[in-house]
């Protein structure tokens, strides 16, 4: 397990062991040189410290063999590093032929994933363990980069129809791992991330066909709706969007524009969706479109269930829809993170 201060992320793909090995190899060479030079400097520094003010150093003979040695030895070591790195890289850039293809589209600032059977996810990626996965990456606007530290892989996501990248990996360990956007792409670059879920192949198959936890669960359905109906585009989890973050909303006190507060219960959430302008959250514009007639009753329930599930998510300090506790500056649920 990971210690409190780990030195490397979890190893969860076929690329993690070779890349970590490479890291250790290069580190040892570099430590060797850095230590050697430091020790030499410090030693000379004390050993040859000037004794008298007009002391002059002894002229040492230059030796071209010495010069040659410290050209050739680093050169050889460098070539070893290069070759080893090249092997790993070529492997990474050369996708095997038996991959499971998943489409990933980046846009400011979210990831849309499409599973082979057409199932769509937002900021989530489910993959089976042990299969070679190929991600086909495209961008709708600027350059992004899909980065999974636990897998040690990343690849830029380039806009334009004549240019898209692919990346591949083979997850080796079930679990949930962070993925990030690691090419700077504008305001919310930092929160353009999510989770990769590595599942046992049977679980994955069940998940895909929707018979597993996913399909019937209103929270999951709500999460999907939340993305599909574009709620996410305004309601960013970290509160930097045009609309308040809904994290921790359910059950909390909401400060309205008039200065009054209201408890965010199911009715309030329902009203907010269907008649958004009935109660306007303080500090926000009445931007939200009404979803009256666009959502079935079942969908509203699913959305409500999803919003309720966000109760356990961290509430951003700024931009939460919930009222400050007791007039203080921080939101009540902040400590939950």
């Amino acid at each position: 397990m990971q210690s409190q201060l780990p030195l490397y992320p979890e190893q969860a793909s076929n690329f993690a062991p070779p890349i970590d090995a490479l890291m250790i190899f290069i580190t040892s060479i570099c430590v060797f040189f850095a230590a050697g030079i430091t020790i030499a400097i410090v030693y000379f520094f004390f050993k040859y410290r000037r004794k008298t003010p007009d002391d002059v150093g002894i002229v040492t003979r230059e030796d071209s063999r010495l010069e040659a040695a410290w050209i050739v030895v680093p050169m050889i070591l460098a070539m070893v590093m290069f070759s080893w790195g090249a092997v790993v890289y070529v492997d990474y850039r050369h996708t095997p032929s038996d991959t499971l293809d998943i489409y990933v589209v980046g846009k400011q600032w979210m990831w849309k994933v499409q599973q082979p059977n057409g199932l769509k996810e937002i900021n989530e990626l489910h993959v089976p363990v042990g299969r070679n996965i190929r991600l086909i990456l495209a961008s709708e606007d600027v350059i992004h980069d899909f980065f999974i530290p636990a897998f040690r892989v990343k690849m830029d996501v380039i806009p334009g129809n004549n240019h898209y990248n692919t990346m591949w990996f083979r997850p080796t360990k079930p679990g949930r791992y962070h993925f990030f956007c690691s090419q700077y792409c504008g305001t919310n670059h930092a929160i353009m991330g999510g989770w990769v879920t590595v599942m046992e192949p049977t679980d994955y198959a069940a998940w895909l066909s929707g018979s597993g936890a996913g399909g019937a669960n209103p929270v999951v359905a709500g999460e999907k709706l939340f993305a599909e109906k574009a709620c996410v585009t305004c309601h960013l989890a970290n509160g930097t969007g045009r609309a308040p973050s809904l994290n921790g909303l359910y059950g909390a006190q909401v400060l309205l524009a008039g200065g009054t507060t209201v408890t965010a219960d199911e009715a309030y959430i329902r009203e907010s969706i269907l008649q958004p302008n009935a109660k306007i959250v303080a500090r926000y514009e009445p931007l939200m479109p009404s979803y009256q007639g666009q959502l079935t009753e079942e969908q509203i329930l699913a959305l409500t269930a999803y919003i309720k599930s966000l109760q356990s998510q961290p509430v951003p300090v700024q931009g939460a829809g919930v009222a400050p506790a007791g007039g203080g500056e921080t939101a009540p649920a902040t400590e939950k993170r």
Binding site: T95, L137, A138, S139
Partner: protein
């Protein structure tokens, strides 16, 4: 440092070069209307390079300049070549796109 007993190029040479340049221009326009297939660009750039060299060598006196000036010119060409060659090296060796993929943004790649 004082090697230059300045070389004066005679006007005759200038005029001759001028005529060659005009002929080159006509030639390149003529060539543009013929189809040499993949050599179209080679011919166009070939003629342009001959013309440019003549300008550098005679109008700009590079032929009679000190070695150092000539080195400066070579450097310019060399660095330009680095920039073009290494960048094109990337573009020309990009992996052929996997064919038959539907792009996630919905455009089909043949």
């Amino acid at each position: 440092m004082s090697e230059h007993s300045e070389h004066i190029v005679s006007p005759k040479i200038y005029v001759a070069i001028f005529l060659v340049l005009i002929v080159g221009t006509s030639l390149t326009v003529w060539a543009a209307f013929q189809n040499f297939h993949q050599f179209n660009i080679v011919i166009a750039l070939g003629i342009a390079s001959v013309k440019a060299s003549l300008v550098v060598l005679y109008f700009m006196h590079a032929r009679y300049s000190p070695k150092r000036t000539q080195l400066v010119i070579v450097c310019a060409i060399f660095w330009l070549a680095i920039m073009l060659a290494l960048t094109l090296a990337d573009y020309r060796t990009r992996q052929p796109r996997a064919s038959g993929l539907i792009s996630p943004t919905g455009v089909y790649y043949a």
